[in-house]
Symmetry: C2
Subunit: 214 residues, 2 copies
């Protein structure tokens, strides 16, 4: 046999990436073979090499594209730092909950990257972290935030937010909007400056609505 009916690069190419993404996320890069990926999309292993130079490039492309998309998809609004922080936090949660497999891979497969690829991915991650740190820094200067160390606060918030993907399941107890609201509430409080007391102080509030299901 050789070329099969309906074969088309525009189809097999994307399917390869999808299959690799799903299998890498589920079993880990090292535990997934090219033959398994090929079987998933209904071709022989040799055919994969029309679409990727090797297995490593497959992983690297997934991670790099994910991070570049993440960076391209959000820009800080022109607003006070607290509004920027809210925008960042809500976007981070939404973006990550929409792409659980990519997030998983981007955090778990770092050690399977060859050094040159690792350097690229690390750089992109630092760029992303730098955005949050810039907001915290600006807000601290403005007296909106009370953070003893912006780098620490950055890492703490990102870890907290990204952690959602480790337990969130579609159709679970809480819907996304609720999760987003409650995490934003915790994130805000973790870094917010104490309100100036007695008078004025605009009283915003956060929905504590105990009510909920369970």
């Amino acid at each position: 046999m050789a070329r099969t009916q309906g074969s088309h690069a525009g189809i097999t190419g994307p399917r390869l990436r999808e299959a690799a993404l799903r299998l890498f996320a589920r079993h880990g890069y090292a535990a997934v073979s090219m033959r398994q990926i090929a079987a998933e999309i209904g071709v022989q292993a040799g055919a994969l090499y029309l679409y990727t130079p090797d297995k490593q490039a497959l992983l690297f492309a997934l991670m790099r594209d994910h991070l570049e998309d993440l960076l391209a998809d959000w820009q800080p609004p022109e607003a006070a730092a607290d509004a920027q922080l809210e925008s960042f936090v809500r976007h981070h949660i939404r973006y990550h909950l929409d792409r659980p497999d990519l997030v998983f891979i981007a955090y778990m497969e770092l050690r399977n990257l060859e050094p040159a690829n690792f350097a690229v991915i690390s750089r992109l991650r630092r760029d992303y972290e730098a955005r949050l740190e810039a907001i915290l820094s600006r807000g601290a200067d403005a007296g909106l935030f009370d953070v003893a160390d912006t780098r620490l606060a950055t890492m703490a918030l990102i870890a907290m937010l990204t952690g959602i993907t480790t337990w969130y399941r579609e159709g679970g107890r809480l819907d996304r909007a609720t999760i987003e609201a409650r995490y934003w509430d915790m994130a805000r409080r973790a870094v917010a400056a104490p309100v100036p007391q007695p008078k004025s102080a605009p009283v915003a509030k956060v929905g504590h609505a105990s009510g909920g299901d369970i």
Copy 2:
């Protein structure tokens, strides 16, 4: 050749576990071969099977022992919930910073566990999480904490705290005591109830107030 000079189960056994831990943490379970582990401790691969029934048992034992030790090493003090939370947070940070490889494995290699082993490890993790959740629940009832959802707050705090191990390096910019203090500060503020104001009514607010820093 056969038995070698100085060979002794009391030596090779522990060395096997140490080597497996280090290599699994560094390269991942699936990417490490029994032959690599054997080479690390200076024996042939066959000799490893005097100390473990198979590779999977090696991973499982590391994870199980780690979690059992974690659970055994801390009991909530008899105190108010806020003091219990501080004790938990500080212990969590210290314990995890002391065992970076074990922590890494326990979070990253879950998917490489066979189903029966996975069930055991999941159970232990849930037990640990339940301890924090109990504190938050108790503190919320006492009015010390303001958490909309104790489960969410539990997962948020654990993710935030455990995340330290992803960037902490011995001899880095901040020492452990500083990190511990600052993370405890952020964790506390994320869940603390607003201080009861001069007068009545606890005012929950969001700091938009431009006002001064602290």
